[in-house]
């Protein structure tokens, strides 16, 4: 019964989704329309929706993978689009972060068009969004650089091909975003939450290292220096702070450290192995040393969706979002929400960050919320 309802629901949304898909090519930025500064809302909150592994291809003609037979009728990329639209309506995020494998380029007739369609719900809703690359985004005529350049040309994105002022850096899509305090508060011109985006690459270029790529020293050095610069600014006037502003890090391929957990010490599920490179990039060590990162968010392994805390950093999967991506029939596609909340000051204004919470929502009838947890609170790493 529930399954039948679900099918109807998905079908109903397809009409909206298809309309949006047609509009998507109009959404390409023709002028500079990007939002310049992210900031906390008047209610002291900032909400991020993470969308992992959409695996978008040709829209309506691209079939779903690993869904129940009852769900398979007319199931296509448009179900992915519909899910994203519903999530935007349900959560009204301040930022959407796409953590790679945005498109499944080898099945895309025209990668640029697939990208347009994949991101169209965010563009349509005029919500700021940021994307990084996975290992499938470049598997067509469009190179990784080409994909990233196309992404930054789209409306409402805050994505960048690479940071300015850095000569040579590995990959495409390494950048950071600052989230300033509430307008009118003492923190209105300070970044109270820092978001880092990195390109975790695609496939290992070294024959003796198996399968996936990793985050390289040039990227880590950029991250480290950016973090130091942000920390210096945060701890300076006005509103001098003693501890760094919390940082959240987004990329595609998980770190080997994601394998440190089992069901006794994580929230969520682990239904497949951790598909990182067979060597350790050292990026976990670099983040630990930087001292500001409270959580890392990746995709890549679609049927893992846990968060586990290691050395003061929460390592989180989002779980697979896209219907053309492999998954597990009967195990709903899902997405991760993160909400950061500011401290209320004595003067009925807003101060620095107090709390970071997360939950996931499932693509079912009710967009069911699961696994609500505190990622960080008041300077307590991994606090609950």
């Amino acid at each position: 019964m529930e399954e039948k309802k679900k099918t109807i629901n998905v079908r109903g949304l397809l009409a909206v989704a298809a309309a949006v898909l047609c509009l998507s090519s109009l959404a390409v930025a023709t002028e500079e329309t990007k939002q310049k500064q992210l900031r906390f809302r008047e209610n002291g909150e900032f909400k991020i929706l993470q969308v992992a592994d959409m695996h978008y291809a040709d829209g309506k003609t691209t079939p779903c993978r690993d869904v129940l037979p009852s769900e398979n009728v007319s199931c296509s990329d448009l179900n992915t689009t519909a899910f994203l639209h519903r999530m935007i309506l349900a959560e009204k995020p301040d930022l959407i972060v796409f953590t790679g494998d945005n498109i499944y380029a080898s099945d895309a007739t025209d990668a640029a068009r697939s990208l347009d369609a994949a991101f169209s719900p965010a563009i349509f809703a005029s919500i700021p969004w940021a994307a990084v690359l996975g290992n499938h985004d470049q598997e067509s005529a469009l190179s990784r650089e080409g994909v990233m350049k196309h992404i930054v040309s789209l409306n409402h994105t805050l994505s960048q091909v690479n940071p300015s002022g850095v000569d040579l850096i590995d990959g495409f899509g390494n950048y950071n975003l600052e989230v300033h305090g509430v307008e009118g508060s003492g923190f209105e011109n300070k970044s109270v939450l820092n978001l880092y985006f990195l390109d975790s690459g695609d496939y290992s270029k070294v024959p003796s290292v198996s399968v996936y790529d990793w985050i390289k020293p040039s990227q880590q050095l950029w991250f480290q220096r950016t973090s130091m610069k942000l920390q210096r600014a945060y701890m300076s006037k006005p509103e001098v702070q003693k501890a760094p502003a919390p940082g959240l890090v987004y990329f595609h391929i998980p770190l080997p450290e994601f394998a440190s957990f089992d069901s006794s010490n994580f929230t969520g599920v682990k239904q497949e192995g951790i598909s990182s490179a067979s060597v350790n990039s050292g990026f976990f060590a670099t983040m630990v040393e930087a001292g500001d990162v409270k959580a890392v968010f990746t995709g890549h392994d679609h049927v893992n969706d846990f968060c586990g805390e290691l050395t003061g950093i929460e390592l989180c999967y989002a779980g697979g979002f896209g219907y053309h991506a492999y998954g597990k029939a009967g195990w709903a596609r899902r997405t991760r929400v993160v909400v950061a909340t500011l401290e209320k000051t004595d003067k009925a204004s807003w101060g620095p960050l107090k709390l970071i919470k997360t939950w996931k929502r499932l693509d079912d009838q009710n967009l069911t919320t699961i696994d609500v947890q505190v990622l960080w609170s008041n300077g307590t790493p991994g606090g609950t």
Copy 2:
């Protein structure tokens, strides 16, 4: 009986050693006497002696640790000096590499004088030498920078405080040395063997990361770019090569990857744990990607002396050299020798590298040679 002989032998050498120790302060460079270019000998060989963990302090008044009761009579730092003199005479190395904990600074009355004394046999023998820092070298009034600056002021050293042309780099004692081909051969102006030296730091500055420090992104980026530059030069005219010149890497604290082995897949012994940082620096990945490194040589864990091959790179300990360092009574202090041999060309000249062999020698009556093994041959990583 054997033990008695050994005691007499060590005592006999103390006279020479003590004399050298007195001369050591005279050996400080007063003018630029450094050798400018390492190169292979006329016989196509280049030999490196690795000396790990001398733990030198005040010379004659500094007692030995972990020796047999029969060896303990008058045993002091001078036994360390004597061992180094004997090894120089026995092996006639082209380069001596000191891989840190050269002095045990917290027991040194005057760290500069301890450094002078520790390196005096190399200086006295006019043999080029290079040093990196361990975690004990700075445990006195002399900082890590101060220790490294003192080291580079000594005669016959090729050590450098840090590479030129690099703005900011973590640590002190990151540099590389080129070993050119035989004079008069086609490779006389090419580096056919590259030596990298890195500062693996001392103690973790991050409370949540236990005990030891690690090699940072800035150092790894310098290594990576240096390796790329050397590879480009080697594969260019004259004598264009298809594969990079082999590289050997020296530093103090082992990588977590040293824990990948057991007695079934290494040569030597493992009698204690691998004391790396509790996080992975990623330097192993960086070396694997660079593609030229054939072997890594560390110290730090005095009673481990093995070499094990992982992903084409041999990871080697030297075993403890110094008598004031912890060890194992009855298990001889030791040192590692590496010999690189060039290929003979048709024209009875010398070409690129053919073979890298290693063995250890024990501080016993005969300076017994053990564990002879091939580390690399003709482009075959870990070949035997």
